[in-house]
Symmetry: C2
Amino acid sequence: MQISDAEWIVMNLVWETEQIEANEVIEQLAEANEWSPATVKTMLHRLVKKGALSTEPIGKRYLYRSSVKRQDCIRQASRTILDRVFGGHAAPALMHFVKASRLSTSEIAELKALLDSKETKRKESDNV
Amino acid sequence: MQISDAEWIVMNLVWETEQIEANEVIEQLAEANEWSPATVKTMLHRLVKKGALSTEPIGKRYLYRSSVKRQDCIRQASRTILDRVFGGHAAPALMHFVKASRLSTSEIAELKALLDSKETKRKESDNV
DNA sequence: CTATATTGATTACAGATGTAAACGCACTGA
DNA sequence: TCAGTGCGTTTACATCTGTAATCAATATAG
């Protein structure tokens, strides 16, 4: 199952809010993205059809909530971009992202810690 | 100008080889991707039409070479995925990529150095 | 010189995507 | 009871993508 660019915008909102009604989605996304309300409704509908969102009738309306994990979608999207754009070479991609990103000092520290732990693991396991 | 997933595969080859003839592209990509030769030809044609590739007649054939910089395309693709998939939050994206990637110790070192320099710059400039 | 092979160009076509209007039903105020 | 209103459903449509066959022109073999 494949989430398109525009659909990601909707999914991000649903993931953030846990559950949300259509009119709220429209309110928060239509203007910001220069979409007509109808466009947002189409997105919701397609995402339901794809199985990315599920609905629960609340009164006569629906509550939308995601039925796929954000992490899973991120993982898939990441692999796609790594494979396609960077030809599977992660390091240049990461270098690029690091260069291009604005990171707070705490985020930098976190990343460094993560790299440290990765390094340790490597040394332990395959002794490179 | 937008390069599709399948087109990235072709572009990656062209970028690697600087310049290349159609039959070579077909040779190197058709089987590996389970594409018919016709499909590869379509890719080349579309990329030329999009302005991503340019052709130079060599004898009666064409030499294909890229007319867009790989870095620029990577930059654009990266921004897209950051904006869409990660909602513009670079740090979680990076954390994810780092976790998911297999990196050599030298690559890890390189990344850490890059983060160091970023940290330094931050401290100098905006004193956060 | 003619038949065949090569290679770029044109055409095809179904499915995904972006973008949105139109439809229908249920409720609400007049 | 009747016209709006709000919301989900259907339908619309141009473009992009993946995938490929066919056409046309040229070169090459016989």
